[in-house]
């Protein structure tokens, strides 16, 4: 088996730009997903029955439909509903964010409900308002418990951004395909892309684990 | 009791990294004898039990059980364990099995005893520890004292030649300690050979034939309970006993909970 890294050396500026796009798409979809997730998670926990049912439907639907389907629908079908086209990067970020947001909200909700009821009562007994109690007592404990799950969601966001290649977002996988097709060196290019993703994701997963181990005792009431 | 030794520790050394848990322990247990190991926490008593049935391999020295050396080869270890019952501080009943199945799983899987025969054996043992009505319960439905009595029955179901007890009452509520100790006393009266790690000084004084005092991985004193508890020769033994509030024979020595 002969290995030829010439194509990678020749097209590295192109691939580097693609890597930057991967990072950009991951970061923005993570931001969007976390914003959606915190709001939906909090509303489902504290917002009463109606909010819980409506938002629950959104969350469970996102858990039921593949990300590829959501992305394809957002990019190809949604423009027909609104009557004008969306660019691929925007569609990608929105689709990824909507999908991720459902999972973030589940994590947030589990975290909020896992803090024992007595903690809330202890806070109220000190004369705090319910909002103060959530902000200063419940949320900080919940966040520490949620860290591992939220960390792995960040890793998932990076990995999932590769699926945006199916709607031609010029991210790492998409551009790797292009170079691989032109140079007929799929082994070298796909392996290089694999390593890039690994280098992005693996330290992140490990880092969150380590951070959590250092903070875990603060979250165990 | 006879002069026939069943378990012999010869200069046993056990290290965990930098820590020397056992620092040359020699001890002999004769058939039918009850020996209690006492001493401060972390002095190596429990380690000695785990070495006896090779749950922990020893680093130096030898252990002989019934004339054969306890080696850490897979098959010989299993033969030793089949004949040596062990009772753990935290009971370690199997939570996914009923009380009856907890007792029969050893005989059926290890001794290849039929289910009917194993059930019968288990029922006799449950009657002996006073828990016949709990045969079909799961461990989570039992109190700590009841769980520990089941654990004793589980070990006895293998018809062992020797029983090891690793602080069997340390994890119990005070009101259930008595029921476990009285089962152990009955066993001792029936002539079972027992090696018991305990903090129950009354039990040691009344039931043991011999007491060995551990400190920092060594046996610092060994003798009949009367000698140790009334007339310890070693200063550190006296220190240890007085820390427990023991001031010789008579003073606070009759425990109320153990009257039964």
């Amino acid at each position: 088996m002969d290995i030829n890294i010439q194509p990678i050396l020749q097209s590295w500026p192109f691939l580097l730009k693609a890597l930057m796009m991967t990072i950009l798409v991951s970061a923005l979809s993570t931001l969007l997903g976390f914003a959606i997730g915190v709001i939906v998670g909090a509303l489902r926990t504290y917002g009463g029955r109606f909010a819980n049912i409506v938002l629950g439907f959104y969350v469970d639907s996102m858990r039921a439909i593949p990300l590829l389907v959501i992305l394809v629908w957002t990019f190809f079908a949604f423009p027909l509903v609104i009557g004008h086209s969306i660019n691929a990067v925007t569609a990608g970020i929105v689709g990824l964010g909507l999908h991720l947001g459902a999972y973030v909200s589940e994590t947030i909700r589990a975290g909020l409900t896992s803090v024992r009821r007595n903690q809330m009562q202890a806070a109220l007994a000190l004369g705090m308002s319910p909002f103060q109690a959530i902000r200063t007592i419940i949320l900080p404990q919940a966040v520490i418990r949620m860290l591992p799950a939220l960390g792995s969601l960040c890793v998932i966001a990076i990995k999932d951004s590769a699926i945006a290649s199916v709607i031609a977002v010029p991210e790492l996988l998409r551009q790797t395909q292009i170079v691989a097709g032109k140079t007929f060196r799929p082994f070298e290019l796909y392996t290089a892309a694999m390593l890039c993703y690994f280098i992005l994701c693996y330290p992140m997963a490990r880092g969150v684990d380590r951070l959590y181990r250092r903070l875990a005792h603060l979250g165990s009431s | 009791m006879t002069d026939d030794p069943i378990l012999i520790f010869e200069s046993v050394v056990k290290r965990y990294g930098d820590l020397t848990a056992l620092d040359g322990v020699s001890l002999t247990l004769r058939r039918g004898e009850v020996v209690c190991l006492i001493g401060p926490s972390g002095s190596g008593k429990s380690t000695l039990l785990r070495c006896a049935n090779a749950l922990d391999p020893v680093d130096e020295g030898r252990i002989r059980f019934d004339g054969h050396e306890v080696k850490s080869t897979e098959s010989s270890v299993r033969l030793v364990r089949q004949r040596m019952g062990m009772v753990f501080q935290n009971f370690e009943l199997f939570p996914h099995l009923t009380v009856l199945r907890n007792i029969t799983i050893g005989p059926t899987t290890v001794l290849k005893l039929g289910h009917a025969a194993a059930d019968e054996r288990a029922k006799k043992l449950l009657a002996k520890v006073g828990l016949s009505d709990k045969a079909l319960s799961y461990p989570s439905a039992l109190s700590g004292g009841q769980q520990q009595r089941v654990a004793i029955a589980r070990a006895l179901a293998m018809e062992p030649a020797l029983m090891l007890f690793d602080e069997p009452t340390s994890a119990l509520d005070p009101e259930t300690i008595g029921e476990v100790l009285s089962v152990m006393k009955t066993l001792a009266d029936e002539g079972m050979t027992m090696l018991v790690v305990t903090h129950e000084m009354d039990f040691a004084r009344r039931v043991a034939d011999r007491v060995a005092v551990f400190d920092k991985g060594r046996v610092i004193e060994e003798g009949a309970p009367q000698e140790i508890f009334t007339n310890a020769r070693v200063a550190r033994t006296r220190d240890f006993l007085s820390h427990l509030g023991w001031h010789g024979e008579g003073a606070a020595s009759v425990s109320k909970r153990e009257e039964a």
């Binding site: 469970d60 439909i65 389907v69 290649s165 693996y202 | 749950l55 299993r78 089949q82 370690e92 050893g106």
Partner: protein, 219 residues
Amino acid sequence: MSFDWSIVWSSLPRLLEGAWMTIWLACVTMLLAIPGGLVLALLRLSRIRALAMAATGFVEFFRATPLILQIYWVYYVLPAYFDVQLSQIATAVTGLVCNISAFNSETFRSGIVSIRQGQWNAAYALGMTPANVFLRIVAPQALMRVLPALASTWVSLFKDTSLVSIIAVAELSYVSLQIRAETYRILEVLTAMAALYWLMGYPQAKLVDWIHHRFKVAE
């Protein structure tokens, strides 16, 4: 803009055939990835360092890279460089099984590790063989703790089968995208595809919630 939903009804047989392939892929993958995960978990817990490290490397690699890329990699690299000729379906199953096995192995490993050492000791003290200790004492207890995570992985897998459409395996996504290309009824066909996934996936998501609730480990 006018929509013609009749295209959905006329294409329904093909769509259902695709859906059937989706279900088949998920089932076959899980059936292979459960033993696969178990083997990887036991290798990682093995005392032979080289085996444990190789298994760890495999698991960490497949967990930290995108599945869609793994599928491309298997598709292009195995035939071209290792002279392994696999059909498209076999390629898809290979990629999915490697990925899901890696996730399952973490599930199994944490289930096994969550059974405390005392349980192993108590079983060993009865003279049981290591195999018996694992099969009769550790595995049954671990299974209860592992079920919720396995159920979640199942639902992810069900959705992830859509990714093998990129190598032209005729499951629901691929079939839908084909019909879209043939008919240009983009909105109708893509909406029908999403609805079919929803119909299959929604009850599964609910079932997972129930399993999580039912088998939650009391701490």
